[in-house]
Assembly symmetry: C2
Homo-oligomer: 206 residues x 2
């Protein structure tokens, strides 16, 4: 096996280091987070840090990295209290990835890509049309991680839209039936196929 210690990692050049450290975290969710300013300017950006925080209440988190992530998303969330999380799927990989380009706040990524807004149920922020899972989110709280000055944004799921055919009888949502993407590192995309579901585990009796 290839071994690198902390000093080796710290001494790597920037691009090699971010490729490496982002990859070794494992597969990540990859989503489009859409927001809208109080002056009604939309914004949509790709994030690979959405995580499950809890089910009762239904809470998700995501990380904002000050140095690399467009700040528009954060500003709009704080201004309005709302955002949407939309799952990236195989048909929009290139356009979704393009939202990582650094546009200023005057330009909406909905204008420069084929991604389309979809408004429904009077939610202030648009969803991304045709995404197999769309989540209406309300900001709850934020935490600044002292170790590197990133922020964890905590939000509550106010509504979920699931493409027909994905939701199973026990509440399991089969992401592979929606051709939902996962990301390896900063730029490696995969569209997984479900291999198997395993049973709830109890201790073995000896």
């Amino acid at each position: 096996m290839k071994h690198l210690n902390l000093q080796d990692i710290n001494n790597l050049n920037h691009l090699y280091k971010i490729n490496l450290v982002n990859s070794i975290a494992g597969y990540k969710s990859v989503n489009l987070i859409a927001t809208k300013s109080v002056s009604e300017k939309t914004n949509v950006a790709i994030f690979s840090s959405v995580i499950h925080l809890g089910s009762s209440p239904p809470l998700l988190g995501f990380m904002l990295r000050p140095a690399t992530v467009p700040r528009n998303t954060y500003e709009n969330i704080i201004e309005t209290g709302y955002y949407t999380i939309n799952h990236i799927h195989d048909q929009i990989l290139e356009d979704a990835h393009h939202t990582s380009a650094k546009y200023n706040r005057e330009i909406s990524e909905f204008e420069v890509t084929k991604l389309e807004t979809e408004y429904k149920d009077n939610f202030y922020v648009p969803f991304v049309k045709d995404c197999p899972i769309q989540l209406a989110m309300q900001f709850v709280e934020e935490y600044t991680i002292k170790a590197n000055n990133t922020k964890l944004i905590v939000g509550e799921i106010k509504g979920v839209y699931i493409k027909d055919g994905l939701l199973q009888d026990d509440g399991f949502v089969d992401l592979s039936k929606g051709k939902v993407a996962t990301i390896n590192g900063l730029d490696g995309y995969a569209i997984p196929n479900l291999k198997k579901r395993l049973d709830y585990q109890r201790p073995k009796i000896f």
Copy 2:
């Protein structure tokens, strides 16, 4: 599309709700976190919440959910300051999943599964043998999320071991070459194949 609002979600029965909310977070990393108590008792448990927090310094986070996760992991990390993160791969899915069973602290999951400890470079905590990526971690800090009393554990990567053939010339680690798993919801496993890597994006010129 199927639509559920917050009230619908809150009214679901427990199992349906945790299947649903865990699934709609998207694909997650799935890892074995190994620890060892000061009295040298090992522990290993499955986690699907490891996330990348930053590359300089190299930091990863993971969530501890008080109600569902074995506390042994947390106690050992606080006692000793160290843990290892080991990527689950296709050959150990069943044994890895079995570590979700609630054993008491007197029993090591290394004793009740075919998972094997591997000690190297004088790190106090064992790695899980044959995992394609193994990370030596040092505890940095923790945050309690007020909204649901879960904890975010922040750790620094002190060392990384990568199976031969996965590391590319630019630092990208191809997880699919190690048959690394991802998890959908609580129990749906997939072994993704890399579809494509996309280029670094700059704004389009109009």
